[in-house]
Symmetry: C2
Subunit: 407 residues, 2 copies
């Protein structure tokens, strides 16, 4: 009899968002017709940029003519040269040199950050933030790297947890403990904080000192505006010897339903004399067949000057929402973090309420759906996350409703 | 210092198709301008069906309007209900009952067949055909299930090899040895043979008897025409308790550059009391974010009555190519297998030539590119694979050139 992967059986059943959905449903069963304002899930709502739609429509038509039809993407790294060239050019504009053969295109950062674990020995010690984007933890658990789960503490016994609390500025600091594979995310999901150059330098020093590898998830880099906040880990000299950077079109160009991301594995990144770039190329050519031609043309268009302008409008729109929520909630007396260089606000719960308590309060008193911070990890207790991806009118109304509820 | 996954380091360097490409390049360097007929790689060449292009263009436009924009696919199993319903309906037409929540949509069968291994314990014994589609072997090796590779024999010491030779009808028979996870492919790549009901029943009996799991790769099911050759493993009663079936739009609808596949994990399939359907749902929700909305609309269109008609024309076109090649080569004195219910022909090499020798002969004497059978495994020695995915004129010309070369 074949045995199932025992690591799967340890995964705690209730994922965060299903529980949120359950409570919302129960609420709506009580009060049918109530109009909710959903600031919970981090999904975009603005339509695709016109130039992206045009490029993808044109690519569809190309696929319908024999002369211009494309089959398997036989080019390197799951992608066509035109897209890798556009990505390399966008890095150059940031002052960062990335070669085209260091770029790998994929269907999403979620897949990438989960799959990258395959490159390393099963014994690798994984470090994650607390609170954290759950995919880093769950995929490490599936790979058998998390150890045993303790439902009482909500922690796995083989993971190194990096607290992201008020004391640490809601960002992770290098630990005393040894960690081999470190998931960093800046601007951070869920805390909305963004690392400065000094903090990134501390991480690069740590990783190069220990021989660790940093997986730098830059899914929200398009939201950075503050001076001194780098959008890329490669702004730190030496990062090319220790860091893999993931980026996505999901939030920068509204591609959550289109599916395109990329990552950089520098040629300088070697461990035990082995090139991780070559290893990832082998992994991808064995287990992945590249991204749809149509989607790659859409991504290319998003990186064009016109695409930057058009997608930039949506990002600016979400940023204004974050400002509305931030100012409105602060004005109502809440302590609000994040929301400056990130689409997420990390709001302290009132002293008498925990994360789920404040979630219920917001839902029942104002019809606003948030995400309880504790759902992202034990250190998220005492916070809720608000996402700025909705309509501007909804953000205004949410603030008004919450102020009303406080009266 | 983090260690890399040691299983990666054992993967033999030279993948088959790069070596084919190298020899072709060397040939063209000698004879610049020579017009080659490429019957090597199994990639489609006919354009997408008009109804698929129209559906995808319409979906692009929907994504460009706020009212119809779609973000993350929040529906079940990486896909929208409309596509799962269309897939379930197409199974019903075959007389097979598959529930919508047993269907999972993904970006390709290559990803799926490689990722499915994650559901099982690391100790699971994997069985593969010899010759074989290399992804089954390489992904098992990356997962640490293949053991040690012996370059002298071209075999891994922990895999169970299922010979697909003239003696076995170029299809695998259940082994005496224990095998937990068995990769079956029918119609077969590379041999072009297709299993009848009796052989599939033998496999279902074996798997249910041993508690094994069959991964049934039906990527080429659209090519089946012979009576008595089932397109689905679920034609065998009891298969729902032991088999996962993979299907793809790549060859049936020309989606190699569009990327869409699906698989069925029956609810009845449990091991150690654990539902593999629930396990795969958890795997996919953790490590995958679904297939592009645009692509899912294209796949839905391919399954519509009009889509069946239009995509059926391309399949019929390739099937005619296979007949041209089959009849032509047999008429020239070669012994040809496959090519009836599959787009692949499995041609015996002349007695004095091995696989690579016949590859070189075909290339140098007729400008025809094939794939050496030994590249798919030791038991492929003495054969080459021809693919029928090119132009009809090219198939005719290939036959003519080979006949000429024999003179």
């Amino acid at each position: 009899m074949i045995e199932v992967n025992p690591s799967f059986l340890q995964l705690p059943g209730g994922y965060l968002f299903p529980e949120v959905a359950r409570r919302v449903e129960a609420f709506l069963a009580d009060r049918p017709g109530e109009r909710l304002i959903r600031l919970g899930i981090g999904d975009v709502t603005r339509p695709l940029a016109p130039c992206v739609v045009e490029a993808m429509e044109a690519a569809c038509r190309e696929m319908g003519r024999k002369e211009t039809f494309r089959g398997y993407c036989e080019e390197a790294n799951g992608s066509y040269g035109f897209l890798r060239a556009a990505i390399a050019a966008s890095y150059r504009e940031e002052g960062i040199a990335v070669a085209e053969d260091e770029i790998f295109v994929s269907d999403g950062s979620k897949s990438d950050c989960a799959n990258l674990g395959e490159l390393f020995a099963p014994e690798a010690v994984v470090a994650v933030c607390d609170p954290v984007y759950p995919v880093y933890v769950d995929s490490s658990a599936i790979a058998g790297r998390a150890g045993r789960y303790d439902p009482a503490t909500g922690r796995w016994d083989r993971l190194v947890y990096l607290p992201c609390t008020r004391e640490t500025g809601f960002l992770p600091r290098p630990p005393r403990a040894r960690a081999d594979l470190i998931y960093l995310c800046s601007p951070n999901n869920p805390t909305g904080a963004a690392a400065d150059l000094e903090l990134l330098r501390a991480w690069v020093d740590y990783a190069n000192g220990q021989g660790s590898v940093l997986l730098f998830d830059g899914a929200y880099e398009a939201f950075v505006t503050s001076p001194g906040v780098p959008r890329s880990i490669y702004a730190v000299p030496g990062a090319e010897a220790c860091a893999i950077e993931l980026r996505s079109f999901s939030k920068s160009a509204g591609f959550t339903g289109v599916r395109c991301s990329y990552l950089v594995v520098p040629r300088a990144l070697k461990r035990g004399g082995v090139s991780l770039n070559a290893l990832w190329a082998r992994r991808q050519s064995t287990k992945f067949n590249g991204v749809a031609y149509i989607v790659q043309r859409g991504a290319e268009a998003a990186l064009s000057p016109r695409g930057r302008r058009e997608t930039g409008e949506a990002v600016a729109y979400y940023r204004r929402n974050a400002q509305i929520l931030r100012a409105g909630l602060a004005g109502a007396g809440f302590i609000v973090h994040g929301g400056v260089d990130a689409p997420y606000l990390w709001v302290e719960t009132p002293p008498e309420l925990d994360s789920w308590g404040f979630f219920d309060w917001l839902l029942r008193r104002s019809g606003v759906v948030c995400t309880p911070g504790v759902g992202f990890g034990p250190a998220g207790e005492g916070y809720v996350r608000l996402a700025a991806f909705g309509d501007a009118e909804a953000a205004e109304e949410a603030v008004g409703r919450i102020r009303q509820a406080l009266l």
